[in-house]
């Protein structure tokens, strides 16, 4: 009987968070395509604009903030379905829900892992696109920082859509429908920050707004994500 006691080892939230984060990062690094595909997509979408509209440097410099931001947004959107899909399909998500751990923390860790494997590399790669689109060098800092903060918000909001649609066979297009309208404020302030950087205006205000959205997202989104995942799995 002594052997069958419960709670043989308490698991702290920090340990839980880092365990989930480590596992998801490990999974992404084992499957390299998950890591690289959004980046290639990001690059390709940005290439379409000079080809589709005009290679004129002044025009491209004008639209560059918006184009880079829209491309980053679409690349994030494309990778959203993967946040919960494979865990749902192989039954891992059931086990997570049946473990006595707060689902919110698990979800936040998964979003963090998603951001580290998509948003972070996208932000780091964005100066390359900036150069291709003739964005002035002075705006690169604003571009990278706004993307660093903004893509985390995109991952947080997107995970809500991913959680809601994970139970459906074909959730891919539906996610976009659910999530895109919610992305608009991030897009506006994100590209606004880059435009301000181009014009040589102070960035702090924009970044503060993005940061406020991030803070709000970190507090509220895990609630919605965990509710969504629970609904999809236990439905």
């Amino acid at each position: 009987m002594a052997e069958l006691c419960t709670n043989s080892a308490e698991i702290s939230l920090g340990q839980l968070f880092s365990a989930v984060l480590k596992r998801d990062l490990l999974l992404s690094f084992r499957r390299k395509s998950d890591l690289v595909n959004p980046l290639i997509f990001f690059l390709m979408v940005a290439t379409l604009f000079p080809l589709g509209v005009s290679p004129e440097p002044t025009f491209l410099a004008d639209v560059a903030p918006g184009v880079v931001w829209v491309a980053a947004l679409l690349a994030t959107l494309l990778s959203l379905d993967g946040i919960f899909r494979s865990d749902y399909d192989d039954g891992t998500l059931e086990q997570v829900i049946l473990s006595p751990q707060p689902l919110m923390v698990v979800c936040l860790a998964k979003v963090m892992a998603h951001w580290m494997t998509t948003g972070l590399p996208l932000a780091l790669m964005s100066p390359l696109l900036g150069v291709m689109l003739f964005l002035p060098m002075s705006a690169m800092f604003g571009l990278v920082v706004s993307l660093l903060i903004g893509t985390f918000v995109l991952s947080l909001i997107g995970a809500i859509g991913a959680g809601l649609t994970v139970g459906l066979k074909r959730g891919g297009v539906l996610i976009s429908l659910l999530v895109l309208p919610l992305y608009i404020p991030v897009l506006i302030f994100g590209s606004g920050a880059v435009q301000a950087a181009v014009a040589g205006l102070p960035l702090a205000g924009y970044l503060a707004l993005l940061g406020a959205m991030l803070a709000l997202g970190i507090v509220l989104a895990p609630l919605a994500i965990s509710a969504a995942v629970r609904i999809s799995v236990t439905g």
Binding site: I160, L164, G171, L177, P181, L182, I184, A228
Partner: protein, 251 residues
């Protein structure tokens, strides 16, 4: 949920589909009469009697249909999200049905607000579509409605669909103020506002009184349409209960 006895009795009565079906049946005629009277009076007043705007002339009359629809589209979203939250928290089926019924009405009213706004833009700005802050927010609101409806359509299980759509509409509700603020801010950045459609300084009484009548008429009409859809949903989902069977056979 057990233990929450602080809620008034009518709240639990409302939770009974049958009671809800009966009470909406009694309320419907009253709302219908009120809606028809208010809307007809408002329409005649707005079209024939209200004075034209000194700047926009008679195209200003579009406001009497654009503004009420814009207001209603937003309130409808709020009702949908709140009903969804009630359904989610207290597991009240009727609240889920209300949320479900709200979505198509709200979406169609948002389409109305967009169409009338776009048409109004033609004589005012000279083009059928302008990226005006209010119109853009309304377009995004329509997208939000469409997302909720798509989610309902994609899910087979009614209870799961109701829960999922409630979560989505609550997320949308939190986002609406942020969206509105960001769009307004974006608008001032890109086209310094020279002329907005409705935010006029101090509208005279003979202009806003018909507007008030129209707004009230729209709300009453919304009540009618909501109750009609709600009653359909109640019958559909309670089709196997005794009272619905009796109701069907008695017809």
């Amino acid at each position: 949920m057990a233990g929450s006895n602080w809620l008034p009795r009518w709240f639990y009565q409302l939770a009974s589909p049958r009671w809800c079906y009966d009470i909406t049946g009694k309320l419907l005629p009253g709302f219908l009469i009120a809606a028809v009277l208010l809307l007809v009076a408002g329409l005649v007043w707005a079209l024939a009697f209200a004075p034209p705007d000194y700047q926009q002339g008679n195209s200003f009359r579009i406001m009497y249909i654009h503004v009420p629809s814009a207001i209603l589209a937003q309130s409808c979203y709020m009702l949908m999200a709140i009903a969804g939250a009630v359904g989610l928290i207290w597991k009240i089926k009727v609240a889920d049905m209300v949320a479900f019924a709200c979505a198509p009405i709200g979406a169609s009213i948002a389409v109305m607000a967009l169409a009338t706004g776009a048409i109004w833009g033609k004589p005012t700005w000279g083009s059928w579509w302008v990226w005006d802050a209010r119109l853009t927010s309304m377009l995004i609101l329509l997208f939000l409605y469409m997302g909720v409806m798509a989610l309902y359509a994609a899910m087979d299980n009614e209870t799961t669909a109701a829960k999922a759509a409630s979560v989505l509409s609550l997320v949308g509700l939190v986002n609406i103020p942020i969206i509105k603020y960001s769009v307004e801010w974006w608008n001032t950045l890109h086209q310094p506002a020279t002329f907005t459609l409705t935010e006029k300084p101090a509208m005279p009484v003979e202009m806003w009184l018909p507007l008030l009548v129209m707004v009230l008429g729209f709300y009453c009409f919304f009540g009618v349409s909501l109750m009609l859809r709600l009653r359909n949903e109640i019958i559909r989902r309670e089709r196997r209960s005794g009272w619905v069977r009796e109701l069907i056979t008695s017809r």
